[in-house]
Amino acid sequence: MVSRPPPLPPIRGLEPVSLTAWEGRVVAVVQLQGCNFKCPDCPAPHLVPQVFESGTIPLECALDAIHRRRRWLDAVVVAGGEPTLHEGLGDLVRLVRELGLRVRLHTNGSRPEELRDLLAGGEVASVAMTVRGPLDPTYAVAVGARVRLAAVYESVELLLRSPGEHEFRVPWLPRVVEQEQMSSVLRMLAGARRVVLEPARDGNPGLRALQQVARAAGPYVDSCVVAGRPGQDYGARAGSRSVSSRDGA
């Protein structure tokens, strides 16, 4: 008996060009519907419900749009929601790879098994994982849902051990995560190749506090930057230089 292949994930949004989703690269962003977190500061709350009513973008249309622009694109970023919720994610990644483009995955790290499979297959060139706080009960508040902390930790370890490119995004949730806790998050990510600290959406605490965190804990990681201040790298690799130089794609 031949098992039926999993359905391809529903595409809810397509950003034809982005310069911010993968720093230093021109990418298209594919957004998938559904997330297992309900973060209070979610930048795309419309993607959170796993049952969607307002329709999707046909996969053929999305791939055709990407194909037509493939000479301008370095990669495609698959984001959500939470992409690893979809069983057909691997197939989607392979379809994009067939266009000759690399793939970056944006994940919240709650499903390390799926992440391991993708990394093992070598289909994903880069993973960006969002870490919303220290791995303690605060995390459930920060993501607005019950969360298996061991799974998040496993994902972090998986990425740290993986030879591929990765990036940890650490948003600062005001009134939920304190400054000391932010430092402990960075210590947990020790050995990471790149960490991006994201300020609170309302600007409080501001960039200065975030820079203090980066300055104190930055040496644990290779590269530590504050979103909005890309020229300043507080990581160990950058050392005392104010401007880091990165290799081109």
Partner: protein, 726 residues
């Protein structure tokens, strides 16, 4: 004895004699003397009339003679006090009359007699009596009319002036009257070419007092008198160039809006030029007082001062763009030993010295870092020193100093501390090439340029590909032939822009072949204009002490800075988006591949025609995108005045064409779609700029901008990219 019937007034007119007026005058005199007696006044007036009848029986007495008689009778009849009052009154009236006459005759002609008509020549600042002979001689000297006709016309002009009764006339009026007389005699003459450079009073007032929107555009909005003078002088020269210098066909096409001739306000100037600090060191740049080559480049500070002066000299002989190129390469050997603070100081001075003057044009400052082992085409002594430093003993140190200097200039440009306003600072340009992207130091400079963009500066990134078009085309704006060669560089000598939208409107929907034929004709007209301009420039260059002599003739036996024979002549195009819309019904951004193909076909066809026109006219012709919004606005206005209904229907709410080959500015498309539509068109253009405006938050930081530039370099045909953020 005959009664007095008439009296002659002072102006010679005779009027009826009125005894009542004499009675009144005597009564007032008696009253002034203290005697109020009307009967006595009547009696004395009768005596005066009697004596007048006796004295002037055969002639008409004058007013003065009547008054003399009143005085005499008053004295003889014993009314001395009344006589005195009358005499005083008469004297006061006389002085008032003299003063009034003096005031009224103050502006009357004084050169000759009162019949002379004075002609005021405001442009020359002098007046002269109208001379029929001189006017006839001038007209005959033109060779357009015979002497007999000229004499006839001059007589007609004088007759008109006399009939009008004017005492003074402006020279422009005399010229106009001469044209009317010529027209009346059916003389085959293009009247527009006879017109002088006359500016309407409203235009002058607008420039001087900044009335309306026609005032001079000065930074900060202050009404600088020098800016007004430049603008008004340019307007007069533009009028002269259209009337006298350019062929009538070209002038007519410009005035009608079929094309736009650039630089009419400075007919004897180049369009654009590039200058190297090495030119200063070699002594070929103007304005450098160094006695021997190299004197001006003994220190970075000296080089900066001389470079600023040379740039101002070149800027005075160029109507549009002046680029200072190879800056880091020239400064590198002078800064190898300098510490960080000294380099920052020199960078600040360079920005200060190369900033534009009020109302002037901004320079382009090439800050592309020196690449180790870069093949150097320089053969001049100064560049040879640099090349030695870069390739010889200390390549890393020289390249490092060059990169540090570029970075310092970009940082100072972004900070702007102690520098002129941003709209006067030079525009940084940093070339993007594979070798720049591969070199860590050069890439850091590129990232700094991107950071400057994120801080609000406008930076131009020429794209230099390993194969394909040469370095000189892409890097330094309007093409400067042989820009990196040892021989004298050329410059872009002139530009004439074709109004593609006008031709498309006249051709009509789907009539592409007719449109292309119209392009043929317009290219020929533009070539005619370039040929005429070339003759003007050749004359100016050949003239000893002419304004272009310092640039086109080497000082003190040295090689000239530019060679007119190698200068390029630019054919600009504008309004391609609207031309495509008029031909196909779709704009560049909303059509399918057919529309893109049509746009590419138009550009490649015109490029071919331009090349052929250059070959036929024996000059180097280039096809460029004219991105000047003022030109696009002017040509749109001309079209609107020619066909208001059609233009309003096709382009509602618009006031300008899309400049050059760009997609409409407010087109509802994303960044890549804009790039996809515009950059293929650059393949056939020598100079075009892809303008990308990004939201600062979505620019992805300097790395995002660098990534975009890298993609454009490797995947597209774009020549130059200008990135701004908002």
């Amino acid at each position: 004895m005959r009664r007095i019937a008439l009296i002659r007034l002072r102006d010679g007119e005779t009027v009826p004699f009125e005894q009542q007026r004499i009675r009144d005058a005597i009564e007032r005199a008696l009253l002034a003397a203290g005697t109020e007696n009307r009967t006595l006044a009547v009696e004395i007036a009768s005596v005066v009339e009697l004596f007048l009848e006796k004295t002037f029986s055969d002639e008409v007495p004058s007013t003065a003679q009547v008054e003399d008689m009143v005085e005499k009778v008053l004295m003889d009849t014993g009314h001395a006090a009344a006589a005195k009052a009358f005499i005083l009154h008469r004297d006061r009236r006389g002085r008032l009359r003299d003063a009034r006459e003096a005031r009224e005759t103050r502006f009357q002609p004084t050169l000759f007699d009162h019949r002379v008509v004075v002609v005021d020549d405001g442009a020359e600042g002098r007046s002269a009596a109208f001379s029929r002979e001189r006017l006839a001689r001038t007209m005959a000297a033109d060779g357009t009319v015979t002497r007999a006709v000229a004499d006839d016309v001059a007589a007609g002009v004088e007759s008109r002036l006399r009939k009008a009764g004017v005492a003074r006339a402006p020279a422009s009026l005399v010229r106009s009257l001469a044209e009317v007389e010529l027209l009346a005699r059916d003389v085959p003459l293009d009247l527009r070419r006879r017109g002088g450079a006359v500016l309407p009073a409203e235009r002058l007032a607008a420039a001087l007092y900044r009335k309306g929107t026609g005032g001079p555009a000065a930074p900060g909005g202050a009404p600088f008198p020098a800016v007004a003078a430049t603008e008004l002088g340019g307007a007069a020269l533009r009028s002269h160039a259209l009337g006298e210098l350019l062929p009538a066909e070209v002038a007519r096409a410009h005035l009608d809006g079929d094309l736009h001739v650039h630089g009419l306000e400075l007919p004897a100037a180049l369009y654009s030029a590039a200058l190297r600090p090495g030119d200063v060191a070699a002594g070929t740049a103007p304005g450098c007082a160094a006695r021997a080559p190299g004197d001006a480049a003994r220190s970075a500070r000296r080089l900066t001062a001389s470079l600023g002066r040379a740039a101002r000299f070149v800027g005075a002989a160029v109507t549009h763009d002046v680029a200072v190129i190879d800056v880091p390469r020239s400064y590198a050997p002078l800064l190898v030993e300098a510490d960080r603070e000294a380099i920052q100081e020199e960078a600040w001075h360079l920005l200060l010295e190369t900033s534009a003057d009020v109302g002037g044009r901004r320079l382009a400052l090439d800050l592309t870092p020196v690449l180790p082992h870069a093949p150097s085409s320089a053969a001049e002594p100064h560049d040879a020193r640099v090349a030695h430093d870069v390739r010889g003993d200390a390549p890393d140190r020289a390249a490092g100093a060059a990169a540090a200097f570029s970075a310092a200039v970009l940082r100072a440009h972004a900070r702007r501390e102690g520098l002129p306003p941003p709209d006067l600072l030079p525009v940084p340009t940093v070339t993007v090439s594979d070798r720049v992207l591969e070199s860590p130091a050069a890439r850091d400079v590129l990232r700094l340029a991107a950071e400057a963009v994120l801080r609000g500066s406008s930076v131009v990134f020429p794209l230099e590909r390993e194969t394909g078009r040469g370095r000189g085309d892409a890097r330094h704006g309007p093409p400067a032939a042989g820009a990196s060669g040892a021989r004298p560089r050329g410059a872009c000598a002139g530009r004439i822009t074709l109004n593609l939208a006008r031709l498309a409107r006249r051709a009509g929907r789907d009539r592409v072949e007719g449109f292309l034929r119209a392009c043929d004709r317009l290219v020929d007209v533009a070539a005619l204009g370039h040929s005429a301009r070339r003759e003007i420039l050749a004359q100016v260059a050949a003239a000893s002490g002419g304004c272009l002599a310092p640039l086109l003739r080497g000082p003190r036996g040295r090689a000239p800075l530019y060679d007119l024979a190698e200068a390029t002549w630019s054919f600009g195009i504008t309004g391609l988006n609207e031309a495509v819309q008029l031909l196909s019904g779709f704009e560049l951004h909303d059509g399918d591949e057919t529309v893109s193909r049509l746009a590419r076909r138009i550009v490649s066809y015109v490029a071919l025609r331009v090349k052929a026109a250059g070959a036929a006219g024996d000059f180097v012709a280039t096809l460029d995108a004219d991105e000047d919004p003022a030109v696009a606005r002017r040509l749109f206005a001309m079209d609107r005045s020619e066909a208001p209904a059609a233009m309003a229907e096709r382009f509602p709410g618009r006031d300008a064409f899309s400049p050059g080959v760009t997609v409409r500015a407010d087109a509802p498309i994303d960044l890549l779609a804009r790039v996809e539509r515009e950059e293929p068109l650059h393949a056939n253009l020598s100079h075009a700029t892809l303008r990308l405006a990004l939201p600062a938050a979505e620019a992805g930081g300097p790395d995002g901008i660098v990534a975009l530039l890298r993609k454009l370099l490797r995947a597209g045909s774009a020549v130059r990219v200008e990135v701004t953020t908002w």
